[in-house]
Amino acid sequence: MRERDGAHILMEVLKSEGVEVVFGIPGGVVLPILDAFYDPGMPRFLLTRHEQGAGHAADGYARATGKVGVCLATSGPGATNLVTALATANFDSIPIVAITGQVKTFLIGNDAFQEADITGITRPITKHSYLVKDVTKLGECLRAAFHIARTGRPGPVLVDIPADVASAKTDVEIPDSVDLPGYKPVIKGNRRQIKRAAEAINAAERPLLYVGGGVIISGASELLRQLAFKTHIPVTTTLMALGSFPEDHPLALKMLGMHGTAYANYAVQESDLLIAVGARFDDRITGDVKRFAPHAKVIHIDIDPSSISKNIRVDIPVVGDASDILEGLLELCEPREHEEWLAKIAAWKAKHPLAYKPDGLKPQYVIEQICEISQGKAVICTEVGQNQMWSAQWYTHRYPRHFISSGGLGTMGYGFPAAIGAQVGRPDALVVDIAGDGSIQMNIQELATAVYNKLPVKICILNNGHLGMVRQWQELFYKRRYSGSTLNGNPDFVRLAEAYGARGARITKAEDVRPALAKAFADPSVWVLDFVVEPEENVFPMVPAGEAIDRMIGGMA
């Protein structure tokens, strides 16, 4: 084997792992690595304007494509700027490999210039991390990093490479596979448990599929569909699972939980069998756990044993990959009609649909139109707040990997850089970031990245002049004392877009929404559409925190 330096070992691993692009920002200690990127035939290095942007872009790329996203940052401040992105990916089980530079090995621990103990800082928010102090181990660690990021319950893995390791040479070969004695994720579900689950499903009168992001990660959407169609079991999804089941199908109950549909929440409360697939009973879903699904037996299918019986008692746990287990269930479950149960649900749907008053320019209307004009085929990224919840509610989600949102961590500033990553991974797709006027300002600098790299993301700002979700809670629970939630001093987003070389438009009337969207969606530029919406519109229905999920307020016709 010929000698090469650490930086080129990194390139070899990136290429053999099929990495096309690395998002990042350089700095002193990663110069050997940046230099290697300059050679012909290397993966593309895509320069962002902030490391947080690079991390979220890698995350958005991963969510849109199902591949591992890769980002790179220099030591110290570069690495610490990745922290929020890593925590975001970790919470939502997104495969990322983050490469950070580190000061030279002999300086580690000496408070050297731009030194940060980034493996220490990120330990609780990564799936795993490596500090590689020996170039002969670099290939092996990088190989393991990709393996760990991608398999089992996916997640971010950080590899910290000191400058002298990146430039040190070795002829050690890179292993093709890895041996990790402590890491053996369970993929195949226990056959006896699958059989027990199938028996419970066959015996149930009011079963309900409660589906989480695990189904999308596992690529099990098609199997889910087949199981639901065969057994006529209605399906409700979490935020992370939007698109795993077509919402235009009568069996779809859309999202459940705090801002879920009334009919999904009622169905949970009345069901006699809750079949959780790749979901983890988050408190935004369960509300008061003691009053959650009081009549239901619970089947919990999850790849992560630590998710089982964490928040809720589970009657039939099945640990493994959703695809494997759903396949087993599909075989063992009998065709059913569930006429009575479905009729009851249909009545709830008719009586309590999602609703808003269509006066003025309403954010819900904007999202409905985004859905219509894109024919529901856009890759939708969101920021966090009301914009996120309205996107979940008012867009008809039909396809997996078409809804990209920070669920677990709820990271404002996630959506736009994630949209950039999604556009890189899906160059032909229409990628839309549905944003709030607050969130968009948290990574607005990435407009330069999008424009320069010709990544024609469409940013639709639902500009309500507030940190809207905070304002909503203050309206409902703090006597309308809008402390710190008014966005005075917002910029002119249209001129801001133009300053970056993007195109912009301001929309103030409902009748202008469709033409503006149609024009922007058909145009190859980056667009910022500033929808000046009703400032005090609320997201309803809403389950107040800690309430039972059928105790919703507002928004019901």
Binding site: R123, K127, G182, S306
Partner: protein
Amino acid sequence: MRHIISTIVENKPGVLAHIAGLFAGRGFNIDSLAVGETEDPARSRMTVVVRGDDSVLEQVRKQLGKIIDVIKVTDFSDVEFVERDLALVKVAVKPERRREIFELCEVFRGKVVDIGAKQITIEISGPEKKVEAFIELLKPYGIREVVRTGRIAIARGD
């Protein structure tokens, strides 16, 4: 309830920090901790004694299992096991009363490991209760220093 959690881990930097972090992040105080190589030098055993709510500790046990460098986790609450503490106790004792200490050592199978003009150091090992009882009996003489290891435990053999 008190749990003795025993883990086999890869003998690598960062593993102890990771495990300690899991407990700390959940507000558990570690009562005792012992780390040492196993029969395979690439692996270490960490024995952790913690007190806490059973269901929370069950979650901690599962989270420990998720750490990539953790190979095996056993909660000794579920199995028959033998446990040992080791302590070194330095006692102030005048030469004329040394005999009494030697007698105590005999009963408890303690070992005198150092004798000075005014002080004497004893090594004692055994289950926690025995070690504590022994230290208690030495108190009237004037204990100068106690150094205790973390608890180690091993499942009973077949």
